[in-house]
């Protein structure tokens, strides 16, 4: 039995299970929630199995249908891939459990949510395991299309225009990436990432395609100043969808950026410095905008803009301290996925309870839903980077990388950014304790919704303890 379990093609199953689940959920609209939840749990198990395989035996490769690359499609999983797969599995299961209850009173939304979300999950898992540049393009597009459809799910005017803008930006980003792929194939005659890293020799014929690909991915990741589309899309979607977009979808394009960077290891200091400066600007701009927002979900969405900036601080620091800088950035991405997922789920519960999400009008949330407020506070702790949270480990590693090479500027950015994060989290918490001058409707929030957000937030805080186990997985992946 255990041999059979170890030999099963888990990498392929992690993609096929959600895909099959999506089709079944679409064909059986009445049972879509049940089918979706079941397929989600199975997918998470498959992702976990891939992680165990990689942890035990190192890098894994699987040829779909037995056809070898370049004609066939080869799946590859290494330490970085499995960390991302695990992140998707954890956030995905939490969002699935939450969404089943959250959407229960709108049957037409349920029918559409589950197939789209499972398609998104399949695209994410395929993206994290794709081994060549063109398959990455296809998975990137699959992810973008299902994410856009999920934003449009709520059907309101702001959500539709948010989705439309997101779609146009996403298509532009993937086209830019595709142009890069075309030029790369022309220059080196292969799209396999492993072969490309051997053949790529620098110079203009690498710089132009890589530049086009990176620009497209920055657009899709929403790094300042390309973040314009992000807050409207993430802020106007339904709560579980926002959690997926902010937690997972932007991380996928960041993962792809890292993967390209590790494959080609471009030389020179200009581009890393530029990316780092944009990241620093994103931290300040996003935090200040978050402080100015009147609506809770927009505050959380701008916080995503700020936290994405942190991920790019690693680029200028990686020259001298690659392990610390990249490790910190990746760990920050993992913990942000969980913390921001939990924060959006908590915001969704607060919105369900009060029927609105005006921050100034929050009415004694702490008395009415202590669990949800605890989830919000705990995810805020992880975002601000207080120990022992995952955010603390990531920021600490980045800080160490900055200190050991005497880059005080970057260290200052990291510290001040943390303070700003704490400020906007406490702004929400402050209003949660007070009584609103106006009367608001009150609805009961199912306990499942409150507990899911709390468990996910606790996971983000406790993620710090998993670092000694998770970080060694990255050995051999980092340049």
């Amino acid at each position: 039995m255990s041999e059979w379990l170890a030999g099963a093609p888990w990498m392929m199953l992690a993609i096929m299970l959600p895909l099959a689940g999506a089709l079944v959920a679409f064909l059986l609209p009445r049972h879509s929630a049940l089918v979706g939840l079941g397929a989600g749990l199975l997918t998470a198990c498959a992702a976990l199995a891939v992680m165990l395989q990689v942890a035990a035996d190192g890098r894994q490769a699987y040829q779909l249908g037995g056809w070898p690359a370049p004609l066939g499609i080869e799946l590859v999983a290494d330490g970085l891939s499995v960390l991302m797969l695990a992140m998707t599995a954890v956030v995905g299961v939490a969002v699935s459990v939450y969404a089943r209850v959250y959407l229960a009173d709108s049957p037409d939304k349920v029918r559409r949510f589950w197939p789209l979300w499972l398609f998104l999950w399949a695209a994410l898992n395929a993206l994290f395991q794709a081994g060549d540049a063109f398959n990455l393009y296809v998975t990137l597009e699959l992810m973008g299309l299902s994410a856009v459809a999920l934003v449009a799910l709520s059907g309101s005017g702001p959500a539709l225009s948010g989705a439309m803008r997101y779609l146009l930006v996403s298509l532009l980003g993937s086209l830019s990436y595709l142009v890069g792929v075309a030029l790369l194939y022309h220059a080196y005659g292969t799209l396999d990432l492993a072969l490309l890293s051997e053949r790529a020799d620098g110079g203009l014929q690498l710089a132009v395609p890589l530049g086009a690909m990176i620009a497209g991915l920055l657009l899709k990741t929403g790094l300042f100043p390309f973040h314009i589309w992000l807050p409207p899309a993430h802020g106007s979607a339904r709560a579980p969808v926002s959690a997926l977009l902010s937690g997972l979808v932007v991380k996928a394009s960041f993962y792809l950026l890292l993967r390209l960077w590790f494959t080609f290891t471009p030389e020179g200091q200009g581009v890393p410095l530029l990316l780092g400066s944009l990241g620093a600007t994103a931290i300040f701009w996003g935090s200040i905008q978050a402080l100015r927002q009147k609506r809770l979900k927009l505050l959380v969405a701008y916080s995503t803009v700020a936290q994405l900036g942190y991920l790019f601080i690693a680029f200028p620091l990686a020259n001298l301290e690659p392990a610390l800088a990249w490790g910190g950035s990746i760990y920050l991405a993992l913990s942000h996925a969980m913390a921001k997922g939990a924060m959006f789920l908590a915001a969704g519960s607060i919105m369900t309870q009060g029927g609105h999400d005006e921050i100034d009008e929050l009415d004694r949330v702490v008395e009415r839903m202590p669990l949800t407020l605890a989830a919000f506070a705990l995810s805020g702790i992880s975002l601000a980077g207080l120990p022992p949270s995952g955010g603390f480990v990531g920021k600490w590693m980045l800080l160490q990388a900055a200190m050991t090479q005497g880059s005080w500027f970057w260290a200052l950015v990291i510290i001040v950014g943390g303070l700003l994060t704490a400020t906007y989290v406490f702004r929400v918490l402050g209003f949660a304790f007070t009584k609103s001058p106006h009367e608001h409707e009150r609805h009961d929030v199912p306990a499942t919704m409150e507990w899911t957000a709390l468990v996910l937030a606790l996971g983000a805080v406790l993620l710090g303890f998993a670092a000694p186990w998770a970080l060694p997985l990255l050995e051999g992946v980092l340049p």
Binding site: F134, L145, G157, A163, L167, L168, L175, A182
Partner: protein, 109 residues
Amino acid sequence: MSSGLLFACGGLGLLAIGLWALVLRAHLIRKVLAVNVMGSGAFLLLVGAGSMGETGVDPVPQAMVITGIVVAISATALALALVLRLANATGKPALPEDRERDLMDEGGR
């Protein structure tokens, strides 16, 4: 000038035209069309760059273009459906920031 190079340059031209329209035009159908023009440009670049070698035409770029066309069709279908929904919900096929503009560009540019 080989035909491959000609195709590749044509592709780059289409990309530029598409980008220009995508950024400057307000009507969403025009934006969707612009993305399609850009897509054709990218495909032309793929095929053109692929046929520039000495060994004859390479099948891999052709396979990629076919996959790319499937993706582009799905994206266009989704985009058009969204445009319809948006026009029904808000009364005008434009994003909020472009709503004040003359969508038919009759006033010239």
